[in-house]
Amino acid sequence: MFTQETIIQALGLTVVGAPLTLVVVLGVPTLLGRPLHERVIGRLVQSAIGIGLLAALVVLGLMLSTGARYLPVRVGNWVLIHDYHFSIKFVFDRLSVPFVILSFLLCGTIGAFGNKYMHRERGFNRFFMFYAVFVLGMIITSLAGTIETLFTGWELVGLSSALLVAFYQERPSPVRNGLHVWCVYRISDAALLIASVVLHHLKGGGDFYALVGTEQWPAGHAEVSSYYALVVGLLLLLAAAGKSALVPFSGWLPRAMEGPTPSSAVFYGALSVHLGAFLLLRISPILDLSPWLGAAVMSVGLLSALFSAYTGRVQTDIKSALSFASLSQVGIIVAEIGFTSLFIYFTKYDSIGYVFRYITLIHILGHGCLRTLQFVRAPTLLHDYRIMENAIGERLPRVSSGFWGRLVADNIQPWLYRLALERGYLDAWLYGYLVHPLLRVFRTCDTLERKWTDLLSGEIAAERKPPEIVPEPLEQLL
């Protein structure tokens, strides 16, 4: 007989299973070197997203009709040995369900848009392969009931994002930017993994139920000391900062605009860029335990919002301008989360604080939809402006510098303009004070090792000798 629990279980598995099946169905022919036809891919994407969305909506309907606020779907123990278990658990609650529905809606929209936009593109199959991995990662992250499951989805989103930034891989610039994005994501992943290990040791497992208390989101009380809350919270803030391009990692966001417009829209406008904020919302009861942590979250959010509002004003291309606009909203969202934690800590008015969390979630949903629209509209917007200017026979009037232009002295304006154009020199600082010194140390070690090896062997290494011409006929390659 079909009990409610069985139905929920089936629906929950369908929500996750649909994008997983899409990955498998697209991936296997790709591995076999027989990619599917464009039309088939389009239909498969439509079907998978449609089925997943429908299942998610039915779950929402069931939750609303029964009044349930927390529906766990336990897949079971992926690994179980005497001393360790890795369980897979998905949670449908007031945070995950809206996010899942948003993910399916926007991914479905972008899938349809991309089907036309990427038509006859050489990398059509590759694009949708990465897209499928991204969708799977988003759904897993949104529904994750354990921190290990969340980490799984987090990594899938990161890899697909980096590879899509480098989509136009025949040119070096997208590839360089793709690598930059990947490097930031790896730092974020490392921080999340360390936080996961610490939490595992504190609580004996990674279940969010055990970490943030038995009450359903947005309520919750974490049972850890304020010291550990600060340590874990800062690690998670670092993870969120990397994923959501908060200061000082904001440099990757405009670089990510190298990718195709459909991926820019869904990743950096709508979904992926909000993952950091989503993570902070998920572990918000931990943030409530430490005022320093709440202050740190709020500061990072405000700084990011101010930085991007300032930097976005001088961008010379529409996608970069939109990316900074997106970042300023994400910064405000993160600041809201930090403010809510401080509010709860100092006033103890938990119920009002929970309302603020709902407001933050609504902010995320609304911003995601708006920004997706702007990103997909961007290519045609420039075309429309050109038509208008052709029609009137002159340039459209420019917006004056207004209030800020009158406030700031003339001799400072070029300096501020340059600072904004260079995006606050954040990347230069990161490269100059962190990356290059490290690489210099390792290059020195490499040189010393080569000298030592040459000394021991009594001759120069093969790669530094002049190349030896080996007369191999080309036919041997056949």
């Binding site: 591995l31 076999l32 070197g33 336990r74 123990n77 992926w78 690994v79 179980l80 040995i81 005497h82 001393d83 360790y84 278990h85 890795f86 369980s87 290990e148 799984t152 990594e155 899938l156 980096a162 480098a166 891989q169 025949e170 070096p172 590839v175 793709g178 690598l179 990947w182 490097c183 790896r186 992943d189 490392a190 993994l193 360390i194 290990v197 595992h200 040791h201 504190l202 004996g204 497992g205 279940d207 055990a210 690489l439 140390v441 390792f442 070690c445 490499d446 090792e449 030592w452 090896t453 021991l456 062997s457 001759e459 290494a461 093969a462 790669e463 191999e472 041997q476 390659l477 056949l478």
Partner: protein, 488 residues
């Protein structure tokens, strides 16, 4: 179920040995490749048979009944238990055979004249014998013999052997010295002196390439053929030596001290990967980082860290084997690969690019791949043993992940490679790619069997160390102690 009592183990060692003798007489390299493929393929099939025999039919308690060819032929009791498969060696045995088979299978004509199939078969026989051996003296002898094939190849290629000979002599000398003291003090003794422990530890560090004893490895990769160097290092035979020779006699605090050195090597090698200009040296450092992580896990000697280390050992062997073979396939087409400028090979070899990405990410424990759960266990176990310093494992993994994608971009993207001939993947390479992908993904999606068997092997190792270990067996991570963790 009836027991076959078939000597899978011995035949899988005998086949490559006979094959080496047969192939060494052949003049035609193509014919040599075909025959060595047949012999190594047969060895692989028998190795799989031995593993299945152990896992599903015999089990540990039947080892004493395992009919040995040596007993049958020589009627000598001492030789009865020389080649015995146990929980540690059971999956490693077919893994080694698979690596040799795939390396032979994917050797293109451009490499056929330079790659010695006879020596490869000989080294396969020696390595398989090593991984099925539990008698310490025999292991030392086999480890010493196993260093010969690369030396002979270097000599045949007219390359300098000084670095290799220096370090391998050091390795063998330390092995003999250490074991001599063990024998002198008495094998049955549980606590041995520094005279026995330190040389054996040193030998393991040299063989595994732990800093600062690693330069022989980079030298080997530069001078030998890629296939030979790959096969010499990828099975991580040094870790096997550590388990059989060192772990039974070294106290916990000595091992954990060595673990810190291995941890340093893991991070150091991961950082060195980022600055390499040559693909072979990059691969060498990439491998070094991973093998150091395996050693760290073994040396932490908690149940979780041992389980993680044994899982990672398997996943690293498979994924790095595949990673190296992909690089080798690319090298066969384009010569030595530089990592300074972009190469742009993707349009010509998309399957190789996919395999490169998949095997590279599997080696760093990407979710959904064979290495994921093992990496989680390893990190968990190492952080338990070294609470603050253990975070370095995560740093090493992050740097390795960056290195994989960086080299992927360098080799396959960034420009368009122009070629006048087709560089498309060959059928046998496609078979190798698909086989590896299937193992990595299936093992990643259904890891329970693998983890459970490695956990059993970890418990066996700990039980052998019970008399000298201060670490309680079945030490759980988190708050639980000796009880299964409750389902959430």
């Amino acid at each position: 179920m009836s027991e076959l009592h078939f000597p899978w183990l011995e035949i899988s060692i005998l086949f490559p040995l006979l094959g080496a003798a047969w192939v060494s007489r052949l003049r035609d390299p193509d014919l040599a490749r075909k025959w060595s493929l047949a012999f190594s393929g047969a060895a692989f099939l028998f190795a799989v048979g031995a593993w299945l025999d152990f896992e599903f039919i015999h089990g540990l308690e039947h080892q004493s009944e395992h009919r040995s060819l040596f007993t049958y032929w020589l009627e000598h009791e001492v030789l009865h238990d020389i080649f015995v498969i146990d929980s540690l060696g059971a999956p490693l045995f077919p893994l080694v055979a698979l690596l040799y088979f795939l390396t032979t299978l994917t050797t293109l004509r451009t490499k056929v004249k330079r790659f010695s199939f006879a020596l490869t078969l000989f080294s396969e026989a020696v390595l398989l014998a090593t991984f099925s051996c539990q008698e310490q003296l025999a292991i030392i002898g086999l480890l010493a013999v196993g260093t010969l094939p690369p030396f002979l190849e270097l000599r045949a290629r007219g390359q300098s052997t000084r670095v290799y000979v220096l370090y391998m002599t050091l390795f063998i000398g330390l092995l003999i010295l250490g074991w001599s003291f063990v024998e002198w003090e008495g094998r049955d003794k549980t606590i041995h002196t520094w005279w026995a422990i330190v040389p054996l530890l040193g030998a393991v560090l040299v063989r595994c390439g732990i800093a600062p004893f690693h330069v022989w490895m980079t030298d080997l990769f530069e001078r030998a053929t890629f296939g030979t160097a790959l096969l010499f290092v990828t099975p991580i035979v040094g870790a096997y030596a550590a388990v059989r020779l060192v772990l039974p006699i070294a106290p916990d605090w000595v091992l954990q001290g060595m673990g810190l050195i291995s941890l340093f090597t893991a991070v150091y090698a991961a950082g060195m990967c980022l600055v390499q200009r040559d693909s072979r040296r990059f691969f060498c450092y990439f491998f070094l980082s991973h093998s150091a992580l395996v050693l760290v896990g073994l040396e932490a000697v908690t149940t979780i860290s041992l389980t993680g280390a044994l899982c990672v050992w398997l996943s690293v062997g498979l994924s790095l084997g595949g990673f190296g073979l992909t690089l080798r396939a690319l090298e066969s087409r384009c010569g030595r690969l530089s990592l300074v400028e972009y190469q742009g090979h993707y349009p010509h070899t998309p399957n190789l690019a996919m395999c490169y990405c998949l095997t590279g990410l599997a080696s760093v424990g990407f979710p959904g791949t064979l290495g994921f759960v093992g990496a989680e266990l390893l990190v968990d176990g190492i952080v338990t043993a070294y609470p603050l310093v253990g975070i370095a494992v995560v740093v090493a993994a992050a740097l390795n992940g960056i290195a994989v994608v960086q080299t992927y971009f360098r080799l396959f993207t960034g420009t368009t490679y122009v070629s006048s001939v087709s560089l498309q993947i060959r059928m046998r390479e496609r078979f190798g790619v698909l086989a590896l992908a299937a193992l990595i993904l299936i093992g990643g999606l259904a890891p329970q069997f693998n983890v459970a068997s490695r956990h059993q092997a970890a418990l066996d190792i700990q039980s052998h160390r019970a008399s000298i270990s201060t670490t309680p067996t079945n030490h759980p991570s988190g708050a639980h102690d000796g009880e299964p963790l409750e389902h959430p």
